[in-house]
């Protein structure tokens, strides 16, 4: 039993799934499902189709080089069965998966790093431009600086008492 990779989208093809197409030059194309198969028949280039792994790797959306990928390389030499080795491998597989997922997440985070600052800037601009959608202009005129804290100015009472005799 061997887990193959789909030629188009690079997902794993489990036994019992998919179609294998053998071209006359003896090149074998394996497809995980009819979606990939139909795209292949349409002669689409997987490097240009956005949802495939080939596109994502090519455009730097997904991790390309990592030591965890070495474990999944295709080996054509059959290994002699060794129970201890098989046990160790079965224990190692989930660990390697965990590490790989963690590294992929980090890669994704790095990719999305500049986003928060961008979002804040855009939000501030939107607030400035579209504030009249939130509060009507009449309210804004009464209190033009809604965002600024209200400054309380202490008016001394002695001044008013002095003015009164002047007015009279």
């Amino acid at each position: 039993m061997r887990l193959e990779k789909c030629w188009f989208c690079s997902s794993t093809v489990y036994p019992g799934h998919g179609i294998q197409f053998v071209r006359n030059d003896a090149k074998i194309f394996r497809f995980c499902r009819s979606k990939c198969h139909k795209n292949f028949k349409m002669k689409r280039n997987p490097r240009k189709v956005k949802w495939t792994k080939a596109y994502r790797r090519l455009h730097g959306k997904d991790m390309t080089q990592d030591s965890t990928f070495e474990f999944e390389r295709k080996r054509n030499r059959p290994e002699r069965y060794d129970r201890n080795l098989a046990e160790d491998v079965l224990k190692a597989i989930p660990k390697i998966d965990k590490i790989r997922v963690r590294r992929e997440e980090k890669h994704h985070k790095n990719r999305m790093k500049g986003n928060k600052a961008k979002l804040l800037k855009e939000a501030a601009r939107e607030l400035e431009q579209g504030i009249n959608l939130v509060k009507p202009p009449s309210v804004l005129q009464k209190d033009p600086s809604l965002t600024l804290p209200q400054i309380k100015v202490l008016v001394p009472q002695q001044q008013t008492e002095e003015n009164r005799p002047m007015e009279e």
């Binding site: 799934h17 998919g18 179609i19 294998q20 197409f21 053998v22 071209r23 006359n24």
Partner: protein
């Protein structure tokens, strides 16, 4: 009802019914074939069995180039990958073991229709190709070109497998 009619068509050696039978059996396969040919959309190419009047390519050096199936041995609807057929040579190399008009036996080497494998996957090839054999099943030619499927081993055509360059 349609199924029996179609099978009767393939049995009867009428050239008139040949073209009709092809399209009819194509329709029949949609209802009966579980494997793939489910929906007959006008755009999609419908791959069907190798039946009477199917022209196949000859991929050995027996001298023939194109061969037309007269009768599929085994199979009510037609021959598939790995089956034997009786065929008439339509096109041949000028100096070859086999001449035009000769009736020969052939083993289907490559079929455009997908064949299910025991592990659940399916294989399909680019074209319909055949290797000429004698009544005992021994190949007439001494070389075989192009990829050759595993299925021949089950059908005991080991000699052809040994002559093959690529085993798909």
């Amino acid at each position: 009802m349609a199924a029996s009619f179609a099978s009767k068509c393939s049995r009867v050696g009428h050239s008139l019914f040949g073209g009709l039978g092809n399209s009819l059996s194509g329709l029949v396969t949609t209802s009966q074939e579980i494997i793939c040919n489910k929906f007959l959309s006008q755009q999609q190419q419908q791959r069907s069995f190798i039946q009477m009047r199917t022209v196949l390519k000859v991929v050995d050096n027996s001298g023939a180039k194109k061969v037309m199936c007269i009768q599929p041995l085994k199979g009510r609807k037609g021959a598939r990958l790995g089956d034997t057929i009786i065929a008439s040579v339509k096109e041949a190399h000028p100096n070859g073991k086999v001449k035009k008009g000769k009736v020969v036996y052939g083993v289907v080497m490559r079929a455009a229709m997908q064949k299910g494998r025991c592990d659940g996957s399916e294989v399909k090839f680019d074209d319909n190709a055949v290797v000429l054999v004698d009544k005992q099943g021994q190949p007439i030619g001494t070389r075989v070109f192009g990829p050759v499927p595993h299925e021949l081993r089950m059908k005991k055509h080991v000699k052809i497998l040994t002559l093959a360059g690529h085993i798909a």
